[in-house]
Structure formats: C-alpha cells, structure tokens
Amino acid sequence: MKVQIILAGIGGQGILFSSKIFSELGLKLGLDIMGSETHGMSQRGGSVIAHLKLGKFQSPVIRTGTADILYSFEENETYRTLKFLRRGSVCFVNLEDPGRFDQKVLDYLKEKEITFRSFDASGAASKIGSVMFANILLIGYSVGTGLVPFNYEDLRYVLESVSKKKNLEMNLKVFEIGVREGKP
C-alpha cells in the first residue's frame, strides 16, 4: 500500500496527534513511514500542516497534485491545501456550515473527481464536551464513510495504544460517534 495524507488546520487543533494516529497505524500495518510536521513560530496560531506518507516513499513532503487524502480541520486551511490532492482523491473537511463553502471550488473538485465530504466535527465535539475532540471525530467519520483504505478495527486499536490513559475512554467513545456519523 502507498498512501499520502495531508492534515491541515491551525495551532491547537491536534494536527500532530492526528498525524501520530496514522503513523502508528502505518507501523502496525508494517509500512514505512515518512512525514513532516510544523514546529516553531507557526505554532503560535498560524497554519499547521502535517504531511504523512505510508509505504515505499523516500521524502517526507508531499508534492502538490499527488495526495490521496486530505483531512482539514479549518475552512480556510482547506482552500489553502486542496492543491495537494490528486485526481480521484478524497477530502474530509470540518465545516460548521457546508452551504458556505465556495460553489466554484466544489465544481472544480467534481471535475477532478475529488470526493468532498464535510462534517461539523467542531460542533459535534462541543456537544460532547470539548472542541479538542474534533480531530478524532473527523478521523472516525472518514472510516465510517468507507472511503479510506483503513479499517475500523486497526484504527481503533491504534487509538487505544496512542491515547493517554486519562483520555482513552473518551477518545474511543468520540471515535465511535464519528464512525456512526460517517456511515452512509
């Protein structure tokens, strides 16, 4: 398997934790892992983007027009990172109001056969107790849709192994909710 994933958002949205989930998943599946993270000045409220490449890759960064999956946790960061997606890829976007997303961009994605799925992960997370859960919700959602090449059991297993003890129960619960929301 060769998969290239972009995770985008802003500082504090748990991009690095999300990237950790997928890299540990890769390790479990016996794949080589290469990726890239943002640290330093950008972390102070700036754009944060993580590149993750599972399988036989050598470089830690993804070229535009070649990514298979985009997880975006923020609307404007979505517009900024869509360029990474290849024809026929899929993106999962945390959006409060899908109706607000630019129609011309949606048309473009359709033309490129890019599947666009939006979900109000922040809203759902707030209801559960904290916007901090939005990342796990969106990941769960993507698994529920069946549009990603990862299965439910593997991801649940990895989430169990990377979660801190005090967050474990809640993380799993939130993941399940996400999966349910994503199911067709």
């Binding site: 802003i10 700036g46 960061e77 961009v105």
Partner: protein, 623 residues
C-alpha cells in the same frame, strides 16, 4: 556495557539525532534552544531516563557557552555533542574556528540545524559553508534514519582525526518523522583525563601556524576517506554514461527520488548522492561529470558542492541560473527545475507543477493570511500595548522570541539578532545624541534572550552613558522554541535543580541605577511606570531605566498565570471601530461583520481582562 534495544520507532528527525548521540555513547550533550534544533536535548533527556544512563545534559546560556562546555569534555577524552540552530553557530563560531586548529580528543560533534525557507529564522545561511570556513568536515543527512547513523559516524570520524565534525540537518530532516531502526546503545566507560599540552591547547600564533598545517593535512586524509566512502556518497542509476545526471544531497535527494519514481524517470537519469559535501570527494564528482553530457546540481540552501566543482563547463545549478538563489527546495520547486532542465535539453516534456485553474479560484476567494500571533492572554501583548500607549513615538528595538510578534502591535521596529534589542537601542541613542536630539527609545527583550546575550550589551551601554528604556519581558521560560527552562527558573535540562539567577540582581550588576518590576497585566500602572522610566532617561544623573515585566507564560503555566481571572463582555457601546482588533490584536477578539461589532471567541479567551484597556469607547467591561 551494551544496552540491548533493537526495534523500530517512529521518530522525529531531531529525536533520531538524539538517539544517534546516545547510541554513540556520548557523555556530554549541551545546547541552546532554537528552531529547528530544539527537540534534540529533550529527546536526549528522555533516552537517558529510559535507559538509566549517566549522560550530562545542559541547556547553556548561549551557543558559545554550550560549545565550550562540550569541547572541554572532549579534551578530557569523553564524547561530546553540541546542538544549535544555524544562527546559533554564528554565536559559537569563534570557538568552532579555533577548535578546528587545536582539534579534539574525544569525539566532538556539532549539530547545526539549517532553516531553508526560512520558516523560523532571520537568515537562510548554509552551515556547510561554516564547515568550509572553519575547515572541519560536515555530514549532510537526507532522512532521520540517515541523520542518526551519520551522527554516530561523525563521533568516530572526529575521534579518529581529532577534529570537530559538523552534522547539518535541514528543517525538513529535523522535523521529518520516519520509522527509524534503533540500534544498541554503546556506553563507553571513560574517565575524564585532561592531558596538559600548552603548545596545543594554549597555542600562540607561532604554534597556530603549525596547527593550521596539520589541519590541512588532516583534511586531505579525510577527503581521501570520503572518496572511498560508499555509505554516504553513492550513485543511483545504471552507473554508465548518459546525456544527463544529477548531483544532489540532503533532503533534496529524497525529494528528487520520489519525483523520479512518480514520473517513471529513474531509469533515464543517474543520480550521485553526496552525504559529505566538505571535504568534497572531488574525484567521485569529477568522474560522474565526465560520464554525462550535462549535470544538474541540486542542493539546499546554498551552492556548497557546486562552488567546489573545478570544471563547471557541463554543470547546471544555482550559479548558471537553473536553481533559485533563495528559499527551500520544496517538491514543486525541484519538480519544476527538473521539468525546465529536461525540456531545455530535449530529454522529456514535463508540465509545471500546480493547477492554474485552482490557484486562480483560491486567489479569488481572498482568504486572509493567517499570520503568527501572540497567544490570547499573552503577558507580552499587555506589555507591548502599554509601551505603545505610554511612549507612542519611541523607536522600538526588539529581539528574537515570541515577542518578535509585537510587530503585529507595531511595537517592534527592529529585530536583528539575539541581544540586539539592547545594542541597537544604545546605538540609536548615540546617533541621535550626537546631534543633540533626545528621542524616546524602548528596547524589549525576553528573559531567555537577556541571559543569552543581554548582559554584555547592557553593561556596555551603561558604561558608555547610553540612555533608553529597556523592558525585559520575563515569562519565566524560553517560550517560542518549546518551553525550555532559563537560568532565571533555576531548573536544569533534565529537570534537576540548578541555581536560580535573579534577573534584577544581574541587571543591577550591569550598573543600571533604575529598576522596577511589575506584572504587565497591570496595564495602567505599567503605563505610568514607563513614563517615569522615560523621565529617568532624560533627567540629569539619569541613565538606562529597566522595567522587568514579569508574568508567567500561559502556555507553560496555565494554572498559575491566571490567578485572578477577569471575565469580560462587550457592551452595545461597541461601534465596530476595530481599534482593539488592530492595536491590541488578541486572537480572541474579532469583528462580527453582519452586526458591525467586535465579539469574543470564548474558545480562545483566557479571561486575562487586559483588553478592558484596549477599547477607546469603554465597551469592553468586566462581567
């Protein structure tokens, strides 16, 4: 003793480097934090704890101090490593240049992390040029795994040839993550044993000449070793003749390999990978060029390999205008360089990166650029706001740290390098004073930066009768680079107790006659204090006035920093003038366009209450 531990872990490049340091059995590790190098020391601390090692680890006050501490350990026969960002090497360069001559005993590895882009630095300087300048060998890793292995070999090379060795990861190696194979840790049992040799360790100019001659001989031997080395310098492809070949190194090599794979060009193009750009294995490079009609040199950040190539007739690169002179070589950049060169040579017809249609669509949306900003509730914002209010016409010389972002509040006019907040203030004073002009000058500097290079700047300014206001923004941590402790905190790198250094005592010791300490959340009194400080700089017998604005960083100390929360709300008096958004610039305050008034983002607001002072209409009030 060997600690057996063979496994694969996903490691950040800097953690892999730390692992390499530990696997090499290094005894002493020192550093001053700076992106992209900051994660090395904490990872060394983690491995030390995990494996129960006796490693001595320190956050030093600055990079030169770190370098010298490591070097001394090497002179006793132990292995030592010092880590820093590329501009840190400027600070440590005095020691680097001299130690290249005197040499080392135990392996001494200098890790200098470059920042092409730049992402979080004031320059894009290429540390490999520093290696050439100082005449020490340099390894140039492409991946975290390779960085770990190179660090280990660097110790061996350093010990064999008794010379300091640089390892130069770029940010795309330091902050890459990879599944890395760990090796056993080789703990070396060495007792400190400094053997006196004044002709070497205290060499006078006469002996320096001899040492320089020896250094040149050593470099020649190292170059020969690199010629034969096939671990770091190797060819990918058919090793035969061809119309076109590429010489490359560092992360550019792996980026290129993924692009050649993607474009199915691997069979057509030979690639020479160079892991030791200095001393350059000249014969290998010349032989590769000999076999090809044209050779492209792709390297970050500057033209270190390309400059060393003697016959450039067939060479394309930065010097021939084929590679951008600045910026990092991201995959799109390398792809487009390749496309243009292959088109030019008639080898392949490739399109440029990116989709013009999408680019135009997104451009048309006019999305705000998300600039970095001080956190909501940051005490430094409160201090900058007070400075602007008290002395709106001052020259604001500032420095390197989170507080560089005081730029957004227009309270920062200069950012040169570590320590220049004070030295430029002093220089500005004298330049105006010479013309008999009295202008307000406010220097700002963080606590960690002051410990790094503030004292010499300050005592020199005091000694030479400069007059300005200095505000030390003391958040009791090195915040920007990831919360490393400072001498003011009195906790050392591995969490054990150190001696706490008092900022106020230190400032007094520099000869300053006017010092006040205040919590910057108390904006009203800080404004008054700043005006008093300014008066002190003007009165007869006055001088430099220092205000220590002390409030803990709220990211590092979320519990203690908000002892008395002040929840605020915005009243109907808000007319949407956006003064608070523009001049206070708290990310928790935003304009709700449909109502033409400012609202509070409760997810971001930390109830510091400082914005009460930021509304000229009095529309922000405590609940």
């Amino acid at each position: 003793m060997k600690v057996a531990k063979e496994e694969t872990r996903i490691l950040l490049g800097n953690v892999a480097i730390a692992r390499g340091i530990i696997e090499a059995g290094c005894h002493v590790v020192t550093s001053y934090p700076g992106t992209p190098s900051s994660e090395i020391i904490p990872a060394v601390v983690e491995f030390k704890k995990e494996l129960g090692l006796n490693t001595y680890i320190e956050w030093s006050a600055n990079e030169k101090v770190a370098f010298d501490n490591a070097l001394a350990a090497s002179l006793t026969g132990k292995r030592a490593a010092v880590a820093m960002k590329q501009v840190g090497l400027n600070v440590a360069s005095d020691s680097l240049m001299s130690s290249a001559y005197t040499g080392v005993i135990g392996g001494m590895v200098v890790i200098s992390c470059d920042d092409p882009g730049p992402h979080s630095s004031q320059t894009e300087q290429d540390s490999r040029f520093f290696a050439m300048f100082a005449k020490v060998p340099v390894y140039d890793p492409s991946t975290p795994q390779e960085a770990k292995e190179m660090v280990k070999e660097a110790f061996e090379l350093s010990e064999t040839y008794q010379i300091p060795v640089i390892v130069r990861p770029t940010i795309r190696v330091s902050h890459a993550k990879q599944s890395v194979k760990l090796s056993p840790v080789n703990m070396l049992d060495r007792q400190a044993d400094f053997k006196k040799d004044p002709e070497r360790w205290a060499a006078t100019p006469k002996y320096r000449f001899v040492l320089h001659k020896k250094l040149n001989e050593v470099l020649k031997r190292i170059q020969e070793r690199f010629e034969d080395d096939s671990r770091w310098n190797y060819e990918v492809g058919n090793r035969g003749e061809g119309p076109f070949g590429i010489i490359t190194c560092s992360v550019s090599f792996v980026v290129l390999m993924d692009i050649l794979e993607e474009l199915n060009l691997k069979k057509n193009i030979n690639v020479l990978k160079i892991g030791t750009p200095y001393p350059l294995p000249h014969k290998r490079v010349a032989e590769f060029i000999e076999r090809h009609k044209k050779v492209l040199v792709i390297e970050e950040t500057d033209s270190v390999i390309e400059s060393q190539i003697v016959d450039k007739n067939k060479v394309l690169g930065r010097l021939s205008g084929h590679i951008p002179l600045q910026g990092d070589l991201a995959p799109d950049v390398i792809h487009d360089i390749l496309a243009s060169v292959l088109n030019e040579l008639g080898i392949a017809d490739l399109e440029e990166s990116g989709d013009e249609k999408l680019r135009k669509l997104i451009e048309g949306l006019d999305i705000d650029v998300r600039r970095p900003t001080l956190c909501a509730g940051c005490p430094e914002r409160a201090a900058f706001f007070a400075i602007k209010k008290a002395l709106p016409k001052a020259i604001y010389s500032s420095d390197i740290g989170c507080y560089t972002l005081g730029l957004n509040l227009k309270a920062v006019d200069t950012v040169l390098d570590m320590g220049a907040g004070i030295t430029l203030a002093s220089g500005f004073y004298h330049a105006y004073h010479q013309d008999k002009k009295d202008i307000p000058i406010v220097a700002t500097m963080g606590d960690s930066t002051f410990f790094h290079s503030g004292t010499a700047s300050l005592l020199s300014a005091v000694y030479n009768n400069a007059r300005f206001v200095l505000v030390i923004l003391d958040n009791e941590i090195t915040a920007m680079t990831g919360m490393q402790p400072t001498p003011g905190l009195g906790i050392t790198a591995d969490g054990s107790e150190g001696k706490k250094i008092s900022l106020e005592e230190l400032i007094k010791g520099c000869g300053v006659g006017w010092i006040e300490t205040i919590d910057p959340y108390d904006v009203e009194n800080l404004v008054k204090l700043l005006k008093k400080a300014r008066k002190y700089t003007q009165r007869s017998g006055g001088g430099i006035a220092v205000i220590v604005a002390r409030h803990p960083c709220l990211i590092r100390y979320p519990d203690v920093c908000m002892e008395s929360p002040v929840k605020v709300e915005i009243t109907d008096d808000c007319d949407g003038c956006q003064y608070c958004v523009d001049y206070f610039e708290c990310p928790a305050l935003y304009l709700r366009e449909e109502y033409n008034c400012v609202e509070i983002d409760r997810n971001l607001c930390v109830d510091c209450g400082v914005c009460i002072h930021a509304c000229p209409k009095g529309a922000i009030i405590p609940v």
